[in-house]
């Protein structure tokens, strides 16, 4: 390419575009775009890394479970479960507004073993998510990041949520039956 001459391109105002300079500029820009679009596609990145024999960071299965890791995963799981539970709360409100017949249908589901399982899972999820959510808010304040502290409050969230859920079930055994 060195020494190659490019035809000049005259513009309307009489000046000329330097096509050689243009050609030297475009390829780096295109390479930049290609790199960026690759970065946004995680799956493509992974296959590239494997193909080129690059070291890969270990995936979920290889880590030893710790209390902090567990509470982090539980937070997501209970968040999803609590969203489903919120739909059940909505159903309760709709049934209450719709009349005795609709309410009877809701009660029948809530009293069924499957409905009870959903309600118990919802209670456990919302209580855990609430307790662990407060930990997240404390972290947002920049506090509680020490290993010992984080581990202690992890176990605290797990144990207390189970205790409180069983306590709720003891207080309201018929939540279950309506």
């Amino acid at each position: 390419m060195k020494g190659a001459s490019y035809p000049s391109a005259a513009q309307a105002d009489g000046t000329e575009i330097d096509l050689g300079a243009l050609r030297r500029t475009i390829p780096p820009i295109c390479a930049g775009f290609a790199r960026d679009s690759e970065r946004f596609r995680g799956d493509h990145m992974a296959t590239t890394n494997e193909a080129k024999g690059r070291p890969l960071s270990p995936h979920v299965g290889i880590w030893r479970w710790s209390a902090t890791m567990a509470t982090s995963i539980f937070h997501r799981a209970t968040g999803i479960a609590a969203s489903v539970g919120l739909l059940m709360v909505t159903w309760f409100l709709v049934a209450l507004a719709a009349g005795p017949q609709a309410f009877a249908t809701f009660s029948a589901f809530a009293g069924h073993w499957f409905g009870q399982l959903v309600l118990f899972g919802f209670a456990l999820s919302i209580i855990y998510h609430l307790l662990n959510g407060v930990r997240h808010l404390v972290w947002d304040g920049g506090k509680g990041f020490g290993v010992a502290t984080a581990t202690f409050w992890s176990w605290f969230s797990i144990v207390l949520s189970v205790v409180l859920t069983l306590g709720l079930w003891y207080l309201a055994p018929a939540t279950i039956g309506f």
Partner: protein
């Protein structure tokens, strides 16, 4: 030295063009939900084993009705943001991702509307 313009810095939107809005609303609704969820649990204990009429009368109480509406609003908003984050993290296929995000939004808004109207109806009709 930063190459960002003063205007860009003041807007504080960053590369996502949305700034910290998602993050802040997730926290704001979380704080609001702390007392609301405690009231929900209190309500569950109170209503346990109660017949239809009693449950309806309980919801018709102005304080309970307002708390229920707030719970529905904050709850579905918080759930919507959280589920959106989960989908963006784990679903890599574009079409599946868009469908799930739409579904989450539709269900969240429908749930909010249904819950709000139901509480309103019970409150107005007693």
């Amino acid at each position: 030295m930063s190459l960002r313009t003063p205007l860009s810095r003041v807007r504080g939107l960053g590369s996502a063009k949305e700034g910290a809005h998602h993050w802040i609303v997730q926290r704001a609704t979380a704080i609001a939900l702390v007392p609301l969820v405690l009231l929900l649990l209190y309500g569950a204990v109170t209503l346990a084993g109660q017949p239809y009429e009693a449950a309806r009368a309980y919801l018709a109480n102005p304080f309970v009705a307002v708390a229920s509406v707030l719970l529905i609003f904050a709850g579905f908003w918080h759930a919507r943001l959280g589920l959106q984050e989960v989908v963006l993290d784990y679903i890599h296929k574009e079409s599946t991702r868009v469908v799930l995000l739409l579904l989450i939004n539709f269900v969240a808004f429908a749930g909010t509307a249904l819950g709000f109207l139901s509480v309103l109806r019970v409150y107005v009709t007693g």
